[in-house]
Symmetry: C2
Subunit: 157 residues, 2 copies
């Protein structure tokens, strides 16, 4: 049996988010040894909380698990390029490595737009790995938004 990668778990969370009617984005936090300590998918609609992006929920859960507001040495996997909110939270949490899937030209805040890690006001920059399982992450998002266009009125992430 192939060991499931962290991004496989994040994709599983993204698919579960889609099944709940949420924009399909999933995230996983692993500790310095590689052990997953938190996983989450988007829950903005269910929780009536615009901050309940997958990354935010995973970071908050990981901090709760470790009893610390810093995740020093930890890594985060997320299926979509983080928005500026999540990118700044990743920096505050002192995440060591950020791995993401699809680029997000519309709302991303890492490689475009606000480019949160690229300013002197950002005091911790994770090591970046992009494009991981990007095709699968993009396909999930495309199917979700195509379904919204065909079905009831949708909303963006």
């Amino acid at each position: 049996m192939r060991f499931r990668s962290h991004m496989d778990i994040a994709l599983e969370e993204a698919r579960a988010a889609a099944a709940r009617g949420e924009v399909p984005v999933g995230a996983v936090v692993a500790d310095a040894s590689g052990r997953p300590i938190a996983r989450a998918g988007n829950r903005t609609r269910e929780m009536n909380d615009p901050t309940a992006h997958a990354e935010m929920l995973a970071i908050r859960a990981a901090c709760a698990a470790l009893g610390s507001e810093r995740l020093t040495g930890c890594a985060l996997w997320v299926t979509l390029e983080p928005c500026p909110m999540c990118a700044a939270a990743i920096s505050f949490a002192r995440i060591a490595r950020l791995h993401y899937g699809a680029a997000d030209p519309k709302s991303g805040g890492v490689a475009q737009g606000a480019r949160v890690f690229s300013h002197p006001q950002c005091h911790h920059r994770p090591e970046l790995f992009d494009g991981i399982a990007a095709a699968e992450a993009e396909a999930l998002l495309s199917r979700f938004f195509a379904g919204l266009r065909e079905g009831p009125a949708g909303r963006e992430k």
Copy 2:
């Protein structure tokens, strides 16, 4: 008796945060009629949560109060220029007006650094009012950080 302004309430939350050993920043959300519906101060240390900035807690509480992930027509008052995380959350929540006190050259994300509202990846920009009660907000922060330098080891916001 003078009616307390929203920024007075935010400053009260900032002072309460300082008394808890948190970086003194406070925030208030008011609905379209001007009625305060949520107020909060920083609780990152207490909650072991790097996302628990005053603005985030106030937005999440206001969304919970209204049962909506959008705060359309609402206004936010905060004693310090929001960081990129909070600025993006303000945009996602569709806050109509953002009033803030002191500028934050070190970590701000509105008028400097990431300038979250200034990119096409930002899909809602609040009307901005800055410099409100800035001297008092700055004095609170200066006293807090001076105390940290004299006392036990501190930490940034």
